[in-house]
């Protein structure tokens, strides 16, 4: 809530400040454009790498992170290649959330990424400012964009990577040009504050700049270019670099907002690492500066080449951070797990399947049937939510039309997550338990019917999942006909669910109460009848241009899914209903009409 209000105020404020800045100074405009192009390049890079996730990248990730040194190296290498520690952190968060890697492996990657990101400073300091990088950016952009237009996923991904790198370089070029021109107008160095106050002030500026731009890289580029143009003092540049290092965690924190607790733990670890490293660098700034001088001498860096010295400093303090924090990784994991507790996932656990039920054949069957009924109840909820309804409304006594009108807005619902949470574990437990039922019972009709019922439930849920996307698109569509047709599908499923509920409740005044299995045949007949008239109606709608051919195809597919859902729901109940006497249940199954016999009744009816 507060976040929303804040972002509502923040965005217009940023726009106004920027617009005012653009009006004041064309150079500021060039720098900002450079930052924007740079960030756009980052987005393109991310898009490109996304094309390679889900396959090779995942496999490599799993293989290369099983040891701490491996995950550290992975972080360093990946960030050096991608030139974005934020991107590596966010990807790592997503892998952690998916459970592909553990927290300590994730922390290893993030630690490595902080060192890997220092190569950016070297790249810009040693390469970016001396060569006209825009000359490389242009061909990269051209080749990249051509590849982006290719349909093949990997080529497209490679195109995005190339274009992303092109934009990165172009952004650097613009920023550099902006600062060159800036030099003549304002001397940032005049505002430089010395001592601890200056150190803290510029650290804060570094944090703020990186939070705003969401890229420590962009801040570093600005620092180095400003330093090269002598806009800021060397000491202030160091403080800015420390601030940038802390501020860069913002992307990971933002990325973790949408992830689970594991992702949040990693983002927390990232923040702790960078804050600790930053504090160490601030406290020991003078020893660090001496260290930088010494290393620069060894490397043969000129005394006044502050940009390269900044790169040395950036690498040195991040390396120190790693040396300090790696031995504490176990404690950090402990602390993070204590601070951000992973809520135990409430996966449904079997209620009726216990060892004592296995002793007798009848108790085992009863336990399996009751557990399957639980699965069915969960599935009923998922079906209702998948149709953008509440279970209460779906099974209420309200007229179906009113229920449909009341629930006419698509409501997002993650069927896969609900299946994982409430169905999968129970289904697995039922299959395992049924394989342990002793002796002859294994081959009994009852066991096979219970197994079938479970499979029918899964099939019905699959149908709902397939249908959900179009259902979402069309239940509040502007096209009245398609909206009506999709609501008709919903109506059919609701009607069947209600009928099944009524039959299974077994009220004495119900004519079906005594012969539950057989009463399902009437539902089968209605299902067949509806399906026979459906195609004709859809063709009519397409012919009269009431719906487009695309809509028609969706409708035909979804009607088939609805048919499968309903027939599976009927089958679930047929497999689970049972009379008081076992022999009578068998007799009912013997008498129940098969598809061919149902069709004969339908044909007779047509005459």
């Amino acid at each position: 809530m507060l976040n929303n209000k804040l972002s509502r105020i923040l965005l217009p404020t940023i726009f106004i400040v920027l617009a005012y800045g653009f009006w004041l100074s064309p150079d500021f405009k060039a720098i900002s454009a450079g930052v924007a192009i740079f960030l756009f390049g980052m987005l393109a890079l991310e898009e490109g790498f996304r094309a390679f996730t889900g396959g090779t990248l995942e496999k490599i990730l799993r293989r290369t992170t099983n040891r701490l040194w491996k995950s550290l190296s992975f972080g360093i290498v990946a960030t050096t290649i991608m030139q974005s520690s934020s991107l590596v952190s966010v990807i790592t968060i997503s892998f952690l959330s998916a459970g592909l890697i553990g927290l300590s492996e994730g922390l290893g990657i993030v630690f490595g990424a902080t060192l890997g990101t220092t190569t950016g400073a070297w790249l810009v300091a040693g390469f970016g400012l001396k060569v006209n990088i825009a000359a490389y950016a242009m061909p990269m952009l051209v080749f990249g964009v051509i590849l982006v237009f290719q349909s093949e996923r990997r080529l497209k991904g490679f195109g995005y990577i190339l274009a992303g790198l092109g934009f990165l370089f172009l952004g650097i070029h613009y920023m550099k040009e902006g600062f060159e021109a800036f030099r003549g107008t304002i001397q940032l160095a005049e505002y430089a504050v010395g001592g601890l106050a200056g150190l803290l002030l510029f650290t804060a500026i570094g944090v703020a700049a990186t939070v705003i731009m969401q890229s420590s890289h962009a801040t570093l580029v600005i620092i180095i270019t400003a330093l090269a143009a002598q806009q800021i003092t060397y000491e202030n540049a160091l403080a800015l670099a420390i601030g940038a290092n802390i501020g860069t965690t913002i992307t990971a924190i933002l990325g973790s907002l949408s992830s689970n607790e594991r992702g949040k733990q990693l983002a927390g670890g990232h923040l702790i690492f960078n804050v600790v490293t930053g504090l160490v660098a601030i406290v020991f700034i003078h020893p660090f500066m001496h260290g930088v001088e010494h290393i620069s001498d060894v490397l043969g860096i000129a005394a006044d080449d502050y940009t390269l010295k900044l790169a040395v400093f950036h690498t040195l303090f991040n390396l120190t951070g790693i040396v300090l924090m790696v031995p504490l990784i176990g404690r950090l994991v402990w602390l993070l797990e204590k601070m951000i507790r992973v809520k135990p996932t409430r996966i449904a656990v079997p209620k009726f399947l216990n060892e004592s039920a296995l002793v007798f054949h009848d108790t085992a069957i009863e336990a399996l049937r009751n557990e399957t009924l639980r699965v069915y109840k969960h599935a009923r909820n998922i079906i209702a939510r998948g149709l953008s309804l509440s279970r209460e409304d779906m099974l209420s006594d309200l007229p179906i039309e009113d229920v449909i009108n009341k629930n006419n807005i698509p409501i997002p619902f993650d069927i896969d997550a609900a299946y994982e949470k409430n169905i999968k574990s129970l289904f697995g437990a039922i299959l395992t338990f049924s394989s342990r039922v002793p002796g002859e019972a294994q081959s009994s009709h009852e066991i096979s019917r219970i197994r079938n019922a479970n499979q029918n439930i899964i099939a019905a849920l699959k149908g709902i999942k397939h249908m959900q996307q179009n259902m979402f698109k069309y239940i509040d569509s502007d096209n009245e006909q398609i909206r009506h047709e999709y609501n008709r599908i919903r109506t059919r499923i609701i009607r069947v669910m209600r009928r099944l509920e009524k039959i299974s409740s077994g009220h004495e005044d119900e004519p079906d109460a005594d012969v539950t299995v057989l009463s399902l045949d009437a539902l089968k007949l209605t299902l067949e009848e509806n399906s026979a008239t459906l195609n004709e109606r859809i063709e009519g709608l397409i012919r009269s241009h009431d719906i487009t051919a695309d809509m028609g195809i969706s409708l035909i597919n979804d009607s088939n899914y609805a048919y499968d859902i309903i027939s599976n729901l009927i089958a679930v109940n047929s497999n689970l209903f049972h009379a008081e006497a076992k022999a009578e249940t068998e007799a009912e199954h013997m008498i129940a009409l098969d598809d061919h016999e149902i069709s004969s009744v339908l044909d007779e009816d047509a005459k």
Binding site: P511, D514, V515, L518, A583, E584, E586, A587, E597
Partner: protein
């Protein structure tokens, strides 16, 4: 007493197949009785129903029940080794 019990158990064991057949016969007959009851109830409901759509639905259901009874009678006759035509009159 114990001997009597043993003999009874032996009798059940020796005539298990017959017993099964008998149970099947009885179950089918019971279901058929229930179906007949349902058929009559549906017929009453059809006679009272004023809504055309609902009546059509009930009539369809009646046809289904009728077909189920026919099938059941056929199965029962098979078990009893008789002519289904004759049984249906029962």
């Amino acid at each position: 007493m114990k001997l009597k019990k043993l003999l009874k158990k032996l009798n059940v064991f020796l005539h298990a197949e017959e017993q099964l057949q008998h149970d099947k016969d009885e179950a089918l007959a019971n279901v058929l009785k229930k179906l007949k009851k349902k058929e009559m109830k549906l017929q009453e409901e059809i006679d009272l129903e004023t809504d055309e759509v609902e009546r059509k639905f009930l009539e369809q259901e009646l046809k289904i029940v009728h077909s189920q009874r026919e099938k059941g009678i056929g199965l029962l006759s098979e078990i009893r080794g008789r002519n289904p035509e004759k049984d249906s009159k029962a």
